[in-house]
Structures are given as structure tokens and as C-alpha cells.
């Protein structure tokens, strides 16, 4: 949602797929529905199988992760080559504990320079537009 607020959702266009757990989809659809229907980004609502996973269950409880974050962690756990995108510190901590690849909005913005999607000046402009 932060990328959409920055009008930078297109930076996800070069990922083969953007999988959004159903619990997260519902939240985004409520607050920023246009983010789920971007013309350049392949966004898919994804059902997450809740499998017995003691490590995940422990981290979810210990870090008090809510439904959306739980689903995102479980989905990333089931997709070894996926990158979990989140700015939530607790979710990132859980992801680290599970050795998942996890990055946030800043990573996507900086990556845009490396991938030729934005110039450094454009990314600086986006960063400066983020409310303090």
C-alpha cells in the first residue's frame, strides 16, 4: 500500500507475480482498491494453506502477529523462492527467524535505481515525499 501511496506500484512490474494472501487482499481492497488492479503489475489473491509449522506458530504467537502478517509469513514459507515484502518490524523479525527473504518499501525504491526503473533523483524525490 505504501508503494501505491507513493505512486510507485509500477516498481513491482518486473516481478513475475505479486501474491497477496486473502487476509491482506481484504484489507488493501478496503483502503486502496486501485492498488490491486494496477495495469502493469500481476497481482493475484492467494489462498494460504495453514499447515502445522511449529516454528511459524511460535513466532506468530511470540510476536503477536495479526491475521494479515500471519498469512504473509505462511505464504512466504511455502514459496522458497519468494520475497516477502513488508515494512512491519515484527513481521520482518519473524521472517528473519525463518530465514525468509524479506524486504520493505525502501528496498523496492532503491532497487528501482539498480533496475533502471527510476533515476536516483526520482527516488530521492519519492523518499522526501514520505511523511515524517
Amino acid at each position: 500500500m505504501h508503494l501505491d501511496e507513493l505512486l510507485a506500484l509500477d516498481l513491482l512490474a518486473d516481478f513475475s507475480a505479486v501474491l497477496v494472501p486473502q487476509a491482506v487482499w481484504a484489507e488493501v481492497d478496503h483502503h486502496r482498491p486501485e492498488a490491486l488492479r494496477h495495469a502493469e503489475v500481476s497481482v493475484s489473491q492467494t489462498m494460504v494453506q495453514v499447515e502445522a509449522d511449529p516454528a511459524v506458530d511460535t513466532l506468530i504467537q511470540t510476536l503477536s502477529l495479526r491475521a494479515g502478517k500471519q498469512a504473509a509469513i505462511r505464504l512466504a514459507r511455502q514459496r522458497p523462492n519468494a520475497i516477502l515484502l513488508t515494512d512491519d518490524a515484527a513481521a520482518r523479525l519473524a521472517a528473519e527467524g525463518l530465514s525468509l527473504s524479506v524486504h520493505g518499501t525502501l528496498g523496492i525504491l532503491i532497487r528501482a535505481i539498480r533496475r533502471g526503473q527510476r533515476t536516483p533523483q526520482e527516488v530521492i524525490g519519492l523518499l522526501e515525499s514520505i511523511p515524517a
Binding site: L63, S64, I83, H103, T105, I110
Partner: protein
């Protein structure tokens, strides 16, 4: 958030710390050792949130600049 299933986690901690923790439980500060450990972790996260955020931002910058994708 609802009722979550619990999971047993094995860990090694200094005996001295365990003795101190058990004393707190016995004195009634915590329901049991599980309660103490969970509270300790939550307090650590609350106290170190800025440090965690800075570390995550640094990781993001590093990946953004030099990531292999």
C-alpha cells in the same frame, strides 16, 4: 486476535537467569516461566524498535543497491 495454539520451544539459558526467573514466578510476578519469557521478548522488541528499524532499513538499502535479482 483469538486463541492461538502454543508450541514448546527448547532453548538454553544460563542457570542463574533461570533461577532468577523462577523466583519471580514464585513471587507472583508472572503466571509461569512461559509468561515471563514472552513478556521479556515483547519488552525487548518495544525497547529496541528503533534499532530494529534502522537495521531493516540498512538491509533494504544494501539489497536495493546490490541485490542479485
Amino acid at each position: 486476535m483469538g486463541t492461538l495454539e502454543t508450541t514448546v520451544v527448547q532453548t538454553q539459558i544460563p542457570t542463574r537467569l533461570l533461577v532468577e526467573g523462577e523466583a519471580l514466578v514464585k513471587a507472583g510476578w508472572f503466571r509461569d516461566l512461559d509468561d515471563l519469557f514472552i513478556e521479556a521478548l515483547r519488552r525487548y522488541l518495544d525497547a529496541h524498535h528503533p534499532e530494529l528499524t534502522e537495521r531493516f532499513l540498512q538491509q533494504d538499502v544494501e539489497w536495493g543497491l546490490h541485490g542479485g535479482d
